[in-house]
C-alpha cells in the first residue's frame, strides 16, 4: 500500500506538489496522468524516498533500510549505465545484495523471458540496443529483486508508435501476471485508459480528479478534465476510417 496525505513539495522556490492526497491499494495498477509540470514525476520520487515532503506524510509498505528490495523504478529510455553490459546493468541490485553468480544468471534468464528480450542481447552494451530493447532492460533491472512495488515514469515515452503499442500490450500482460503494486506516470490519455483501473489527474501540482477512466469521462470534476481528455482523443472521422 502506498499513501500520501496532504503532501506538499517545493523545488527551487516553486510548489511542484500541492496538498496531494493519494491512496493506492496493494496489487493494483494506478496511473498518474497529467501534462509536463503537473508534479507527477515528483510524486514518484517522493514515494521512492529520493525526495522528502515539505509538508504532509508519505507512507509506503517498504523495507526502509533497503528500499531497493521493495521498489523497482523504470524511467524513460531506461537510464541504463553505458559502461556495463545488459546483464551487468540488470544484475546491479543483486550484486549489491551479494547474490551468487548462478542465482543471478537464473534470475536474468527468467526476466529476459518475461520481458521478451532475446537472451543473446544480455552481453551487449546499451548503445547497441534499440529504444524498445533498452526499455525492456530497464524493466528487467527494476524487477531484478522482485520488489512488491513497481514505479514507471513515462516508460513508453521515447518509442516509435509500433514499438510503443507492442510494449504497451506486453506491459499490461506482465502487470497482470505479477500482481504488483504499480504506479505509472504518463501524459498520454490512451495509456491511462489501457493501464489504469485507478487514475489520478493532476494539474499544476494539484489533484484535479481521482477515479476510473469512465468516472473521468462521464463525470468530469471540472471543465479542465473534459478538456484534457478531449484534447488527446482522435477525431471521430479518423476512428471511423480505421
Amino acid at each position: 500500500m502506498i499513501s500520501l496525505q496532504r503532501v506538499t513539495k517545493r523545488l527551487g522556490g516553486q510548489v511542484v506538489v500541492d496538498d496531494v492526497s493519494l491512496l493506492i491499494a496493494a496489487g493494483t495498477t494506478h496511473v498518474l496522468l497529467g501534462s509536463s509540470g503537473s508534479g507527477k514525476s515528483t510524486i514518484l520520487r517522493l514515494i521512492l524516498g529520493l525526495l522528502q515532503p515539505d509538508a504532509g506524510e508519505v507512507k509506503v509498505d517498504a523495507d526502509t533500510e533497503r528500499p531497493s528490495r521493495s521498489i523497482g523504478y523504470v524511467v524513460q529510455e531506461g537510464a541504463l549505465y553505458p559502461h556495463l553490459t545488459v546483464a551487468r546493468n540488470v544484475a546491479l541490485a543483486a550484486r549489491a545484495e551479494g547474490w551468487e553468480d548462478a542465482r543471478q544468471r537464473t534470475r536474468l534468464r527468467a526476466l529476459a523471458e518475461l520481458a521478451g528480450l532475446d537472451g543473446e542481447l544480455l552481453d551487449r552494451y546499451p548503445a547497441e540496443l534499440s529504444g524498445g530493447q533498452r526499455q525492456r532492460v530497464g524493466l528487467m533491472r527494476a524487477l531484478m529483486l522482485d520488489p512488491p512495488i513497481l514505479l514507471l515514469d513515462e516508460p513508453l515515452g521515447a518509442l516509435d508508435p509500433i514499438t510503443r503499442a507492442e510494449l504497451q500490450t506486453q506491459l499490461v500482460r506482465i502487470f497482470g501476471e505479477l500482481r504488483k503494486t504499480v504506479v505509472l506516470v504518463t501524459h498520454d490519455v490512451r495509456e491511462a485508459f489501457v493501464f489504469g483501473a485507478g487514475i489520478t489527474l493532476l494539474n499544476h501540482g494539484r489533484v484535479v480528479q481521482h477515479g476510473t477512466f469512465a468516472d473521468l469521462a462521464r463525470r468530469p470534476a471540472s471543465p479542465f478534465v473534459a478538456e484534457f481528455l478531449r484534447a488527446q482523443a482522435p477525431p471521430p472521422e479518423m476512428t471511423r476510417e480505421l
Binding site: 529520493l50 524511467v75 553505458p82 559502461h83 546491479l92 549489491a96 545484495e97 552494451y125
Partner: protein
C-alpha cells in the same frame, strides 16, 4: 581489478627509497647556472680531488643566488663561488658592508665562512665599440652624458635593478636617444653590428676577450664591488683544513679579470667542457680525466642520455603517481562536498600560479636540494589537472544515472567504484594524461635545485648560450612527453570501459 594492480604498482614505485645520502667523506661543491660559476665550481672540485682529503661531489647549475644560498644554508652543499656584492646585498641585506673581513664576521654566526678575494670582480660595466670610443673620446661613464644621441641596449635584469640602469642614470645624469630591452646574449651582436652604441656587460664576459670593445671606467663609483670569493660551511673548512688551505693557496689572488674572461671565453665561445677549462687553469691536464669520472661533462652521449632519461623518468613517474594517489581522492571529496570544492580547487589553482622556479626555491628550506624537493614541487604542480578533472568528471555525470544508484541500493564505495568512477574515467584519465605530459616539461626545471634529469643539459646550455646543448636536453624531453602520452593512451585501454572509449 586491473586498475587496482596498476595503482598498487604505482604506490610501490612512489615508496621506493630515494638514493642514500652522500657519504661523510665528500665535499659537495655547488654552482649557480652560469658559465663562470660552473668553471669556478669545477676548479674547486678538481683542487679538492687533488688534495686527497675528501671526494668532491658536484652539485652544479643550482639556479640563482636564492637557490644556491638556500642550499648552503641548509647544509646541502659545502662550498661555492660567490661575489661580495651579492653577499652584502642579497644575502646579508647590508649593502654598505663590502669588504671581505666584515662580511666574514657577519657570516660566522650562520656557520659560514669566506675565502680571501680570488682576484677579479664580476660587476656590471658599460661597453662601447673601440672605434666609437675613439671618435667620441669616451673613457668613462661620465663621458656618455655629453652624447645624448647614443642608443643603448640593456638586459632586462640590468634595466630593473636599482643597482642597474635606474640608479646609474640618476647617479651620472645620463640620457640616451633610445634604450631597448634585449636578452643579454643578443646585446653583443647588436653592438658589434652597430645597431646600438652602448650595452651593459659583466666585466668578465668571455665575449670581451674576443670583440674589440672598451669598458667605460666607473669614475664616479656607482657599481658596488662584486669581488669573487669562495663561500663555504665553516664546519667543512675546519674538518678538512688541508683542503681549505689548498683552495685558498691556489685561488686567492690568483685569478685576475683577464684570466677569468679568458676562461669564460674558452667555455662560451670555444665550447670547451668546464672540466677542461678548469684543468687548463690549474695547469694540470693530468687531472682532467680523473674529474671526468665523477663529472657529467665527459660521459659518452649514449651513457649520458640513459642516465638522464632514468633520472627524468623517475621524477615524472613518482611525481605523477603520488599526484594521482592524492589528486583523485581530493577530486572525489570535492565532488561530494560542493562547498569544500570551492576552497580545494582554489587551493590547487593557487599552487599552479606559483612560478615553477619559485615553488622549487620554496622547497629548499623544507627539503634541501636534490631529488626530494624536486619531487614534492612537481607533485604539487601535477595535482591541478587531476583534481580538477576528477571533480569535473564526477560533477557532470547525468543526474538520472546517479539517482538510479540510490534506487538500486548502491551506496558508498560501490556507487563510486561500479558507477561513478568508470563513467567519469575518460575525464579523469584525460586529467592524468595532461598532468603527466606537463610534468615531463616542468621536470626539466628540477635541475635548478640539483634534481637531475634532462634539465641538467638545458640549464648548462642556457648558461653557455649553447643551443646544441639545450637541444640535447630539450629534444629527449619532448620525445619523452610523446612517449608518456602514448603510454597513457595504452593505460586508457585498461582503465576506461570499452563503450566509453571514443574512436574505432
Amino acid at each position: 581489478m586491473k586498475a587496482t594492480l596498476v595503482l598498487v604498482a604505482l604506490c610501490a614505485t612512489a615508496l621506493w627509497p630515494s638514493p642514500a645520502p652522500s657519504q661523510p667523506s665528500a665535499i659537495r661543491v655547488g654552482s649557480k647556472s652560469f658559465t663562470e660559476s660552473y668553471i669556478l665550481g669545477e676548479i674547486v672540485a678538481q683542487i679538492i680531488d687533488g688534495a686527497g682529503e675528501a671526494r668532491p661531489e658536484r652539485r652544479f647549475g643550482l639556479g640563482g643566488t636564492g637557490i644556491v644560498y638556500g642550499a648552503i644554508a641548509s647544509g646541502d652543499i659545502d662550498v661555492y663561488a660567490e661575489y661580495t656584492g651579492t653577499i652584502a646585498q642579497a644575502i646579508l641585506k647590508t649593502p654598505a658592508v663590502t669588504s671581505v673581513e666584515p662580511l666574514r664576521a657577519a657570516l660566522a654566526p650562520l656557520g659560514l665562512t669566506l675565502s680571501g678575494p680570488l682576484g677579479f670582480e664580476n660587476t656590471y660595466a658599460l661597453a662601447v665599440r673601440r672605434d666609437a670610443a675613439q671618435r667620441l673620446q669616451l673613457r668613462s661613464i661620465s663621458d656618455l652624458a655629453k652624447h645624448p644621441t647614443l642608443r643603448a641596449a640593456f638586459d632586462p635584469g640590468f634595466l630593473e635593478r636599482p643597482d642597474g640602469w635606474p640608479g646609474l642614470k640618476a647617479h651620472y645624469g645620463l640620457a640616451f636617444a633610445d634604450v631597448r630591452i634585449m636578452e643579454h646574449a643578443l646585446t653583443y651582436p647588436a653592438l658589434a653590428n652597430g645597431r646600438v652604441d652602448v650595452i651593459d656587460v659583466f666585466s668578465t664576459d668571455g665575449q670581451l676577450a674576443r670583440l674589440d670593445l672598451v669598458l667605460l671606467d666607473d669614475d664616479r663609483r656607482f657599481f658596488p664591488p662584486y669581488a669573487a670569493v669562495l663561500l663555504a660551511r665553516r664546519a667543512v673548512a675546519e674538518r678538512f683544513p688541508r683542503t681549505w688551505a689548498e683552495l685558498q693557496g691556489r685561488l686567492v689572488g690568483r685569478i685576475d679579470t683577464a684570466t677569468m674572461t679568458r676562461l669564460n671565453a674558452l667555455a662560451d665561445l670555444d665550447r670547451r667542457p668546464f672540466a677542461d677549462v678548469a684543468a687548463t687553469f690549474l695547469g694540470d691536464t693530468a687531472r682532467a680525466p680523473r674529474a671526468a669520472r665523477s663529472g657529467r661533462e665527459l660521459l659518452t652521449p649514449g651513457r649520458e642520455l640513459v642516465t638522464l632519461t632514468v633520472e627524468h623518468l623517475e621524477l615524472v613517474v613518482i611525481a605523477v603517481a603520488v599526484a594521482m594517489l592524492l589528486g583523485v581522492p581530493l577530486g572525489i571529496l570535492a565532488a561530494r562536498r560542493p562547498r569544500l570544492a570551492q576552497v580545494e580547487l582554489m587551493g590547487v589553482g593557487v599552487l599552479q600560479t606559483i612560478p615553477a622556479l619559485a615553488l622549487l626555491a620554496f622547497m629548499i628550506p623544507l627539503f634541501g636540494i636534490g631529488t626530494v624537493p624536486a619531487l614534492v614541487a612537481l607533485c604539487l604542480y601535477a595535482l591541478l589537472p587531476i583534481v580538477r578533472n576528477t571533480h569535473a568528471g564526477l560533477a557532470s555525470l547525468d543526474p538520472r544515472l546517479v539517482e538510479m544508484t540510490t534506487v538500486l541500493g548502491l551506496t558508498g564505495w560501490r556507487r563510486l567504484a561500479w558507477i561513478e568512477l568508470p563513467l567519469a574515467s575518460v575525464t579523469i584519465m584525460a586529467g592524468i594524461k595532461t598532468s603527466a605530459v606537463l610534468t615531463v616539461g616542468t621536470a626539466t626545471l628540477a635541475a635548478f635545485i640539483g634534481g637531475g634529469g634532462y634539465g641538467t643539459l638545458i640549464v648548462t646550455g642556457l648558461a653557455l648560450n649553447d643551443v646544441a646543448t639545450i637541444l640535447r636536453g630539450a629534444i629527449p624531453s619532448a620525445v619523452l612527453a610523446l612517449a608518456i602520452h602514448a603510454a597513457f593512451e595504452g593505460l586508457d585501454r585498461l582503465v576506461i570501459p570499452r563503450p566509453l572509449r571514443g574512436g574505432p
